[in-house]
Symmetry: C5
Subunit: 90 residues, 5 copies
């Protein structure tokens, strides 16, 4: 998993049934020091994350399908948690 910061949402009028009604978040990936990298991923929201929040991202197809309980879903990345704290050296 990686840590990212939600920076916005993506709107697409032509999409797949599995995506209809779900929020697609634009998530900026953070480096180990918590700084934005400019690299990003479009991830399906599962925790109602808002802009600016730091989140945990799972970027693996089989696991993402299990999180959504949709074995046929054509997805790869999901936001699976909101990060409360990154404790260094513990």
């Amino acid at each position: 998993m990686k840590i990212g910061q939600v920076t916005g949402t993506v709107v697409s009028t032509i999409h797949l049934p599995i995506i209809t009604g779900r929020r697609m978040l634009l998530v900026d990936l953070l480096d180990i020091a918590g700084e934005a990298t400019g690299d990003y991923v479009i991830a399906i929201d599962t925790v109602d994350a808002g802009a600016g929040e730091t989140v945990l991202i799972l970027d693996e197809g089989t696991g993402a399908r299990q999180v959504l309980d949709e074995p046929e879903a054509p997805i790869r990345a999901v936001v699976v948690g909101i990060v409360d704290e990154v404790s260094v050296g513990q």
Copy 2:
């Protein structure tokens, strides 16, 4: 998923049955600010995307096969939607 911009099509006379009759798009990957990166992917079109359009790309084999409803298809990347808007900070 990633966001890209369609920049052209790829023509191949020697190919696989599953690809015959499908458009293969050359898609330039965009960065988080919407600028072209020069990195690209060849993706199967599913939404009749044209050159210059901003699209959503799914780059994962199992998911791509599900989108095309071809469980045996030797593909990995598909264009799954046209992006209408990327809302930052919402």
Copy 3:
């Protein structure tokens, strides 16, 4: 697999059942000379690794699920061992 150094833990109050009760480690990936790269991965601990320890990381979904014996787990990376020695030239 890759070699990394544990630099901290990640705390998330909103998470998935499979992750509840497991330690999520922040692991800095090391280069071939054993130097920190700044690139990282969030991995589930399986060997009670502490901060500063050099570890082996498996970053592949199916394998990670097998290590945890959780065929449905939405995970991708696990710490699978503590590295005692990297012998060069043997």
Copy 4:
């Protein structure tokens, strides 16, 4: 998929049964402008591609096994077509 240019072949006397008798091509990956990147992949040939030819490469294990019709093959990358033309802006 990606576009590459065949630059040579790889010879290995110790190898796996599935690879015996197949050509392993050294393929230089091209960027979106068709220039060599220096990044490469070793891919199994399926279209009798020669040195200098521009090819389509599928780099995904499950798909590669389907192309070769070898469900147990330990491979990941195959050359699946020869590129005739990349049309920009169409």
Copy 5:
């Protein structure tokens, strides 16, 4: 697959049953010209490769499990052959 050069071995006293008794090689990935890149992978040996040898590496979980004939093995990378020659332009 990629080409690499074996530079050493990794010793871990805490590890998984599947890895017990197998050599874990530290393999420096080579670029298309055969030069070391500094990027590496830890791969399970299957061909008794020694330090300094140029090897073929398969870095894909399902394929790696098939090479070892261990459908449940939590691994991803294996050394599958020793490279005798890379012929450019043939």
